[in-house]
Amino acid sequence: MMRLELVKRPQRSALFSALSPFMAFVLTIIAGAIMFALLGVNPLTAFRIYFIEPVSQVWQLHELAIKAAPLILIAVGLSVCYKANIWNIGAEGQFIFGAIFGSAIPVLFPQFEGPLVLPLMLLLGMVGGAAYAAIPALLKTRFGTNEILTSLMLVYVAQLFLDWLVRGPWRDPQGHGFPQTIQFGDSAVLPELMPDAGRANWGFVFALIAAVLIWILMSRMLKGFEVRVLGSSPRAGRFAGFGLNRMVFFAFLLSGALAGLAGISEVSGAIGQLQPVISPGYGFTAIIVAFLGRLNPLGIVAAGLVLALTYLGGEAVQSALGISDKVARVFQGMLLFFVLGCDTLIHYRIRLIGLALTKPEAAAKLEAAPKLKEAR
């Protein structure tokens, strides 16, 4: 009988930490090639259709920007949470509530028009996302609940709430019974950046601005320092006078607001109305984006573009090769799996332990293990 053990490495390599996302990408390509081969498709053809063709024309780059914008917006918010060692898994729900809050204006007051409409919608979207994120924050600080569970469960509440809204009170009366709201008026639609070239809207600009602002926050500002201290050494943070409970609220409200902004931008930009499903899992995919981008806002911009491509590629292989677009989920899952795997193996190494050894010998081996490495 053999047993696997993870043994912490005494030193971790800065080089490999930086390379980890790229190694993960290469491993994903290899595993993807095997998958395509098993599906009976020539992997080279499949990769060309999956990764190259979706970005070979200008209008397609616009589509990429549309998909990348919510991923980046959500992921930069999540990076602040994760740096603070606070685990918001519920961005998908905050995205939906942002969309609902922001849509309240064009749905409930369709006659209200003018230049004020859009800013108000965006603001309400952020408020909605933040308010929904405040629930797990409140539960954690008041009752000590695990925010991973509560924030995740609230996603399903949000999805069902949206479903009820668009089938019930907010359904378009002239919509022939389809579960959707009315089409937003012109002043409630997020304008396109370059209407002649493609559909990309201001959401992508919001994403880039958010990435730069969060980067400044985390690397240059006292608040970012507070996030990093509390995340890495909570006791030192308490000594510094930083409150952990306040940080829980800050991180949740900030990431919730950005997820909410992503939600209302998606609805008022790409979709133009509320419908039962408004996100192909952006809130969850953004978790992959955050880690693939090393929790660094600028890295997240790059990672967001890569993950956006997996969505486009999934649609492309479906139409060109007849393969289910669920293949996009497979690629996203593999990317996360490999990046976490690479990170783990950068910090730890695997040892095989024979259970046949007597306990003291095994214990002695374990104690000696990290030192062997040092001696080299």
Binding site: M221, L222, F225, S232, R235, A236, F239, G241, A368, A375
Partner: protein, 521 residues
């Protein structure tokens, strides 16, 4: 160096070398330990004592060099091998489970499957025969630090070692407990066992050790008979030059000086089953004086520090007053803004964030008090200003480091402590509260820190020092109070204090305490 009489030493070490990256922690160490001797291993922090001992006990592998056991070349590849050879070790930091009994803890380390009852019987017999009485059925969490150390020693003796390594064994003991330990060690010596005794307390080494090996910067700088040396000459060998004696000018008119830190009836319930409650503590620290709080570790000092610093708030706002203002309800930031500064016991992870640069660690305790200097408009950190200020502190405190602005974890304990103390001194605080200011800090750095604390007080600040090191407290304090089981004795002026009086209080033997115990019992 005394020659070995019978030709074979129990342990001989030749040219033992250990390299970590660019640092040579042990550089061609030679060491002989004869049968039936107490051999001292002396050296400052970072001199390589721990590394050497870890190689002897098999937790580190040397890069080169040889170890001879009874004249035979051996490779000690693991602690298991060391134990089989007959080498036992008592660590400075105990590895005991508080929620288990003494006997259960011993059984865990023996790992030979014998029933607890027989282990308990053996442990009891052994402990009484060595004059270290121990009840094997008692829960570790209920035992004093001295008693816990006994478990470690008994655990080690049960494996009938030939060589026992003791790492700073008296650092957690009262003087009376230390005396008991010395009797045991002499008894072991008379049975022909050898002891490698690691310490930086020179008086102890002179008292019980037969020979001493002195390390400095990873090299052996000398072998000597400590009985023929003076404490000063031993210190000179360790440090390389005469350690600057701490100078403490007497203070006058202190009775009329204004108390800057007042603690009135401070009470705190235990936060966990194993933490100590604080019982009605009162103390005044006046401008211009240093008050020392002595006590064996784990008698409420940590809880007291947290309460005074504001990491834990008090319900009664008047139970902690800083510069005449009620501070019990204020957070640590609020108390800092009143002019107080704090240095906790734990350096890494409490006083400093390990993976952050020194300049960022400066911000840790001073982001609010020096808000204008270090933080600009809109909460932007002025990285130039914190870098300059951290360099100023590094220069003032002589902090030695390998890079201009290294991570805190990259510094040795002593150098990081100098930085953390310097970070607070740089503010010229009017109240300074320090927990274990020189714990694990080398002699040179310790003298520097102590002198700095005295000077701070003489410039008109109130300084409160919590320490387990009695020598230190007698060196710097104007009055000493003793903490025992969450109670604080009256502060006695240094002129009236003796080691014996303080030692008795540390053991809990004060009439005042006895009455109080009766009341609460």
């Amino acid at each position: 160096m005394s020659a070995n009489q019978d030709g074979t030493n129990l342990l001989e070490v030749r040219g033992l070398t250990k390299i970590f990256g660019t640092l040579t922690a042990c550089d061609h160490i030679d060491l002989d330990i004869a049968r039936g001797e107490i051999h001292a291993l002396l050296g400052e922090n970072g001199a390589g004592k721990s590394t050497l001992v870890k190689m002897l006990f098999g937790s580190l592998e040397p890069n080169s060099g040889e170890i001879f056991w009874n004249g035979q070349a051996v490779r000690i590849t693991s602690p298991g091998v060391a134990k089989k050879l007959g080498i036992g070790m008592v660590f400075q930091h105990f590895s005991l489970f508080e929620a288990l009994t003494a006997a259960e803890n011993i059984a865990l380390s023996l790992d030979d499957g014998s029933p607890i009852s027989s282990i308990a019987a053996k442990a009891r017999a052994l402990s009484y025969s060595y004059g270290l009485p121990l009840d094997p059925e008692s829960m570790v969490g209920d035992l004093s630090v001295g008693e816990r150390q006994r478990i470690e020693i008994i655990r080690c003796l049960l494996q009938t070692p030939q060589l026992i390594i003791l790492d700073e064994p008296t650092s957690v003991l009262t003087p009376q407990e230390a005396d008991k330990l010395f009797e045991t060690l002499e008894r072991l010596r008379s049975e022909g066992k050898s002891i490698l005794y690691i310490s930086h307390r020179l008086e102890e080494v002179k008292r019980i050790c037969d020979r001493a090996t002195v390390l400095r910067h990873g090299k052996v700088v000398g072998h000597c008979n400590p009985r023929e040396e003076t404490a000063a000459s031993l210190a000179r060998m360790m440090v390389g030059n005469e350690v600057q004696a701490v100078v403490r000018a007497p203070v006058e008119g202190i009775e009329t000086a204004q108390p800057l830190l007042e603690i009135r009836g401070l009470t705190r319930k235990p936060a966990t089953p194993f933490s100590i409650p604080l019982r009605n503590i009162s103390l005044n620290v006046r401008a211009g004086e240093v008050i020392g709080i002595a006590g064996v570790a784990g008698n409420g000092q940590g809880e007291f520090f947290e309460s005074v610093s504001g990491e834990v708030l008090q319900q009664d706002a008047a139970s902690v007053r800083i510069r005449g203002k009620d501070a019990g309800g204020l957070t640590i930031t609020g108390r800092r803004l009143l002019g107080a500064a704090f240095v906790p016991e734990e350096r890494l992870g409490h006083g400093a964030a390990p993976r952050m640069k020194l300049s960022e660690n400066l911000l840790l305790s001073r982001h609010a008090t020096d808000g204008k200097a270090f933080v600009g408009t809109g909460g932007m950190v002025k990285s130039g200003a914190i870098y300059a200020a951290s360099q100023r502190i590094i220069a003032a405190m002589d902090v030695r480091k390998s890079a201009p602005d290294p991570e805190a974890a990259a510094l040795s304990g002593g150098n990081l402590q100098k930085f953390i103390v310097g970070r607070e001194l740089d503010r010229r605080p009017s109240v300074m509260v320090v927990n274990q200011p020189t714990w694990g800090v080398d002699a040179g750095a310790a003298a520097h820190i102590r002198q700095a604390l005295i000077e701070l007080s003489r410039s008109g600040s109130a300084v409160l020092v919590i320490s387990q090191d009695l020598d230190e407290l007698f060196e710097i304090s104007d009055a000493i109070a003793v903490m025992h089981n969450g109670e604080l004795s009256k502060a006695m002026p240094i002129a009236e204090a003796t080691f014996e009086k303080v030692g008795l209080l540390m053991g809990g033997a004060e009439p005042g305490h006895a009455e109080h115990t009766l009341e609460t019992a």
